[in-house]
Amino acid sequence: MIFFFILLALVLVTQIAEFFIPPLDWMYNAHIYIVPVIVFYGAMALPFPLMLGLALFAGVLLDALTVQVIGAKVEISLGWSILLYAVLAGIMHGMRPLFIRGRWEVHCLLTGLCTSAIILAQYLMITFRRGSVLFSREVWWQIGGPGLMAMLMAPVIFWVLQWLARATRYPYLPERISFE
């Protein structure tokens, strides 16, 4: 349970930290997203009810801090990110047996794909709201770039979280630590 609260605290801290990380101008202004990596780690490491709790917390934070209310119009209703996080985390959770066996490479790849999926879903929603479809090279980079970065960051973040899990005597650790 301590580990769950540590994950919640880390989600909060990284969500705030993301505000201070400048976009990557060499990658068409793609942003760096760290929170999804933590949430998707939680999806593999936590039991189902706690996974839902983590997705709920991360989704509320994301919506509360990023979604814009213009006049009387909300482009993406509060709650959509919760649903996105929960569905994608649910998929990751389904691959938990692989994680328990210490095979993390699939999860690192999936973390990147799911991060991009969140941004793509947001883009599709605002595109639907704004009424014109636009898919340029910049759009694809801004969707794919964060996923790529998440994929690269995932092994390091997973390793740190794994270390934290062991330090807090979290009982659901994998049988074999693939980064050791």
């Binding site: 930290a17 202004n29 009810p49 509360a64 990023t66 213009i70 209703s77 509060l78 919760i82 883009y123």
Partner: protein, 267 residues
């Protein structure tokens, strides 16, 4: 699926349904309270970021001198912004000299604010500033610098506010072009790939034939932005099937923003 998981799923569904039922006003209030809750973290983070940047660029000075310098810079920018506002009013007066509905205009009331954080999301261009309801800031107030228009406030908490930048596609600004009778709507690009995003001035007449270098100002239509605020300079013009469209370079370099002013009214 275990009984605990089913109960968790039901509770999750209920909470999700509750959030999804939020209207725009409830969403705004909820966002304002979250921002208010996290405001100390943002301001601390902003301070830390500035310190790190300061160390990184090798700018080391005495704390007192730094504070005095910051204060003088704010004063200077406020004076320049007031001066700009006066120039904008002068421009407006000149433009309307031949009109019968001439009326005397006064300068704007400006509240200085500091940028706390920049946009962290991909699809919205926003910044947060260290002023809120306690400083009489309300949603939909124009935000400017001495160089021109920055955007408008959206979510406002007690001590912190979100500013939607002019480069966001949702920030629609009624504009007029100097030296012409052309009027249009300025909006940002949905996705800006470059360092300096451009603005689109839409709904111009096909005969507008704007030339690079011409300046666009707010026209005052719509009620949010007062007339005469400098928006940007025309870079190119093209005709479309139904209207003309100009690309504008924003008056303000939004990537380098540090201090801004919120226009709370006229003096």
């Amino acid at each position: 699926m275990s009984r605990t998981s089913i109960i968790a799923l039901l509770v999750f569904g209920a909470i999700l349904g509750y959030f999804l039922s939020f209207g725009s006003e409830t969403t705004r209030k909820f966002q304002a309270s979250v921002y208010q809750l996290l405001a100390p973290f943002f301001t601390t983070g902003s301070g830390l970021q500035k310190q790190i940047t300061s160390v990184r660029t090798g700018l080391k000075s005495l704390e007192e001198l730094e504070r005095e310098n910051a204060s003088l810079r704010t004063d200077n920018r406020q004076l320049r912004a007031t001066n700009q506002a006066l120039r904008d009013v002068e421009h407006e007066v000149n433009r309307l000299r031949h009109a019968l509905n001439y009326r005397e205009r006064s300068v704007f009331k400006l509240i200085p604010a500091e940028i706390v954080t920049r946009d962290s999301s991909t699809w919205w261009h926003t910044v947060t500033i260290n002023r809120g309801k306690e400083d009489h800031i309300e949603p939909d107030m124009p935000v400017v610098t001495d160089e021109g228009l920055v955007g408008k406030t959206t979510t406002v908490s007690n001590t912190i506010s979100v500013v939607l930048l002019a480069t966001d596609e949702n920030c629609k600004i009624a504009a007029s072009v100097e030296g012409t009778r052309e009027q249009g709507i300025v909006a940002g690009e949905r996705v800006a790939g470059g360092i300096a995003p451009m603005l689109d001035l839409n709904f111009l007449s096909k005969q507008a034939n704007l030339q690079p270098g011409q300046k666009a100002f707010t026209s005052g239509v719509g009620g949010v932005f007062p007339a005469g605020l400098f928006i940007g300079t025309v870079k190119s013009f093209r005709t479309r099937e139904l209207d003309g469209q100009a690309k504008l370079a924003p008056a303000v370099d939004l990537s380098q923003l540090e201090d801004v002013f919120v226009v709370t009214g006229r003096k």
